[in-house]
């Protein structure tokens, strides 16, 4: 039994790491902001979940497990919210730039 | 309660600060801070007396003995500094209510007193403590409150001055932190007394050398020692007058104290002055500081600037006395510490009075003030004479001891230079005198009156102290000598 749990935990961790790495590559590789967001989405949902589940399996202590679950829930709760918020801001910004790309000194110098 | 005096010294103003915040009426807050400061003064007097009769007092916080807990260790040196700080603070505070009325918006008066008390408590804390890290913590309290107080000045340049001070001060504090860390790493202790015992074993290591360098540079930044003085003139010039008077009289003194404490007590005389070419370095920097700053003072058009540069020059004298590294030299430095606090306190407070009446401290506005505000101007003149070092004022006493100590060490040229530095002081003091007494008053200033009593009383208290301690030097000399001898006796 112990061996099984150990192996499965390792497996979860392995998958999580792989997903994470994939997301990392995605954030570097994808061409623009919105697409990169999807790559980040990968690392924040499944990858995180996998690693945390791996850890939960690894450790039988109840208190620690509870905390890991809390972390997992929070991540799942927060990451889409944050992602949405960011995308929203970026979109507004884009729109604004399209509206007036004549005398917008401040933002342009920073984004170019 | 007598055994608790060391902690009460710090804790009374410290606890008074948040209490003061609860008093929303500014006048009440003023009265309250005055009482707190006065109590601190009382306690410091009792402490000094206690120390002079029965030697070093040790007070362990939380009952944990020294290297594990934090202790307050009051010897003659600390006691003297405590007395200077609390006395000056009380006297200066007396004029605060009138002064800030004109210089600070009304809704910030209470905050002013809170910050003032914090600053006072922090300085007392720095001086009283026997723990190196505790020094850092209180140094930061004092610095933070200082930044805020300076930024309260009317002029927008006060903000910029405060910002520059903040950057320099924080770098200095961080350097001290690095130095303390390195010392701690080599000895495993933070208690200054414990450090002084354990450092000699590892004195030859490069780490301790580096620690020393960082601590000293950090302190010198706080000290505004030439060439690290750039933040000081503007900070003093644009801060509210009360703040300037308080800091000019006390803040640099605290830094000098730290310098003395670390070089003489913690690292020990033999380490500080025999391994390193420190003596030469400090003498040179001190003297160059005297000359550069005095010369700069001559060319200032704002009297506050002028006296700020003069402060840097006076720091130069203290550094020279300190670098002689003999008991006589240290005595001279301590005397000058005390005396300079009296002079600068009087001068800047008098400037505060001028500020109160004419709203500016530009030299050109001093025209005819000799007739319009005779009592205030007389105070400035006497303070200036003291700065020059004219006999019967305290300035003479400290210069006498300084030159004597220098000659005792055989440094004739230095003695000549020290005296030559006073000549520059004549020049800048006399510029003010001439403008004030021998120029007709500006048109439209006929209505200017003598400063109110709330200024004149503290100013003249200090002026009279300037003269009294210039004539009856027993007390100041005795304490200074006792302090420096105890340092030389204790240090390994």
């Amino acid at each position: 039994m112990d061996a099984f749990i150990h192996i499965s935990s390792s497996l979860f961790l392995l998958i999580g790491s792989f997903l994470c790495l994939s997301g990392g590559i995605g954030i570097l590789r994808f061409p623009d902001f919105y697409t990169r967001m999807h790559a980040v989405g990968v690392t924040e949902t499944l990858a995180t979940a996998m690693i945390l589940i791996g850890l939960i399996l690894y450790n039988p202590d109840f208190l620690v497990d509870v905390k890991l679950v809390i972390i997992l829930l929070m991540t799942l709760f927060i990451s889409p919210t944050a992602g949405h918020a960011l995308a929203n801001a970026a979109m507004l910004n884009d729109k604004m730039q399209k509206d007036d790309n004549k005398q917008n000194s401040e933002v342009k110098s920073s984004t170019s | 309660m007598i055994v608790h005096l060391p902690i009460l010294q710090v804790i009374i103003p410290l606890m008074a600060a948040p209490l003061c915040l609860l008093l929303t009426r500014p006048r009440l807050a003023w009265l309250f801070s005055l009482i707190a400061s006065g109590l601190a003064f009382l306690i410091s007097g009792m402490l000094l007396q206690q120390v002079m009769t029965s030697g070093t007092i040790i007070y362990e916080m939380g009952g944990w003995e020294a290297p594990w807990g934090i202790e307050y260790r009051i010897d003659q040196l600390n006691a003297l500094l405590l007395l200077i700080i609390s006395a000056l603070s009380t006297i200066v505070l007396f004029a605060a209510e009138t002064s800030i009325h004109k210089e600070i918006p009304a809704d910030k008066h209470t905050l002013f007193y809170v910050l003032y008390l914090l600053s006072l408590a922090a300085m007392l804390g720095i001086v009283a403590t026997g723990d190196a890290f505790n020094v850092f913590v209180f140094l930061e309290i004092s610095s933070l409150s200082a930044y805020a107080l300076i930024a309260l000045g009317q002029d927008r340049r006060a903000l910029w001055a405060s910002y520059q001070y903040l950057i320099m001060g924080t770098i200095g504090a961080t350097f001290i932190l690095i130095g303390i860390g390195l010392m701690y790493q080599m000895t495993g202790t933070l208690n200054m007394y414990d450090l002084s015992i354990r450092l000699p074993e590892v004195a030859q290591t490069r780490t301790v050398f580096t620690a020393f360098a960082f601590v000293i540079v950090g302190i010198c930044l706080k000290l505004a020692m030439f060439p690290l003085h750039l933040w000081l003139p503007n900070a003093y010039a644009y801060a509210p007058s009360i703040v300037t008077a308080f800091f000019a009289a006390t803040a640099t003194k605290v830094a000098i104290y730290l310098l003395i404490r670390f070089t003489f007590s913690v690292f020990g005389l033999s380490f500080s002055f025999t391994h390193l070419p420190l003596q030469l370095l400090f003498v040179t920097l001190g003297l160059v500081g005297v000359f550069v700053a005095s010369t700069a003072a001559i060319y200032q058009t704002n009297v506050k600037h002028l006296f700020a540069y003069s402060s840097i020059a006076q720091i130069g004298y203290m550094i020279v006395g300190f670098s002689i590294s003999t008991a006589a030299g240290l005595t001279a430095t301590l005397l000058h510490l005390f005396n300079h606090a009296l002079m600068k306190g009087a001068l800047f407070l008098a400037l505060g009075a001028v500020m109160y009446r004419i709203g500016s401290t530009q030299l050109s506005n001093f025209q005819g003030l000799g007739r319009q505000m005779p009592v205030t101007m007389a105070a400035i003149v006497i303070g200036g004479l003291s700065l020059i070092g004219v006999p019967l004022t305290v300035g003479f006493v400290s210069k006498w001891y300084l030159v004597l100590a220098v000659i005792e060490n055989g440094w004739w040229p230095v003695a000549v230079l020290i005296l030559a530095g006073s000549l520059l002081a004549i020049v800048y003091v006399w510029r003010i005198v001439e403008v004030a007494y021998f120029k007709p008053a500006l048109a439209g200033t006929e209505t200017i009156q003598e400063a109110p009593l709330s200024f004149l009383i503290p100013v003249w208290t200090l002026v009279i102290a300037n003269i009294y301690f210039g004539i009856d030097t027993r007390l100041s000399v005795q304490v200074a000598q006792a302090a420096s001898q105890s340092l030389f006796g204790v240090s390994p």
Binding site: R29, Y34, H38, A39, V42, S79, H84 | -
Partner: protein, 156 residues
């Protein structure tokens, strides 16, 4: 009031799960803390049906199970395209219509869209969601309305 009691219960559970120290002192401190938090939350006016969606409690697990499956699938899809490279993707903006009536429902729907990699809700205006997708395929799946329907069901 219902919401307040419920919130207190949630908080109590949270405290107990975290604490691990069940001495009298700690428990009483916990009670005090919860009381304080509820008081502050009340002042902040954050206790209502939006924040404590108790009416959903029973239906949520089923939805979550389905959502996890979706997340799993879409993750693999995105990862595949990450490795395939830029040429394989076809990013697109698209507006879809949500059928939820309450704001809470919309939020659940929008977050579910974002939670499944490959699609992100960018903007909400009324019942129009602006969605960005990595692949045109994913947006098609959304438009098919499976998720929309499930969230709406949750609502009722």
């Amino acid at each position: 009031m219902r919401h307040t009691i419920l919130l207190s219960l949630y908080l109590a559970a949270f405290w107990l799960a975290n604490s691990g120290h069940y001495s009298a002192l700690m428990l009483s401190l916990g009670v005090i803390s919860i009381a304080l938090v509820v008081f502050i939350a009340h002042r902040m006016d954050v206790i209502d049906h939006e924040a404590q969606p108790l009416h959903l409690t029973l239906k949520l697990p089923a939805y979550f199970a389905w959502l996890i499956k979706e997340i799993f699938v879409s993750n693999l899809l995105v990862v595949k395209h990450i490795w395939l490279g830029n040429k394989s993707i076809s990013p697109v903006f698209m507006t879809i219509t949500a059928s939820q009536k309450t704001e809470l429902g919309k939020v659940i729907y929008a977050n579910s869209i974002s939670l499944t990699p490959g699609t992100v809700t960018v903007n909400i205006e009324g019942d129009k969601f602006l969605v960005h997708a990595l692949l045109t395929q994913s947006i098609k799946d959304l438009e098919s309305g499976d998720m929309d329907r499930r969230v709406t069901q949750l609502e009722n």
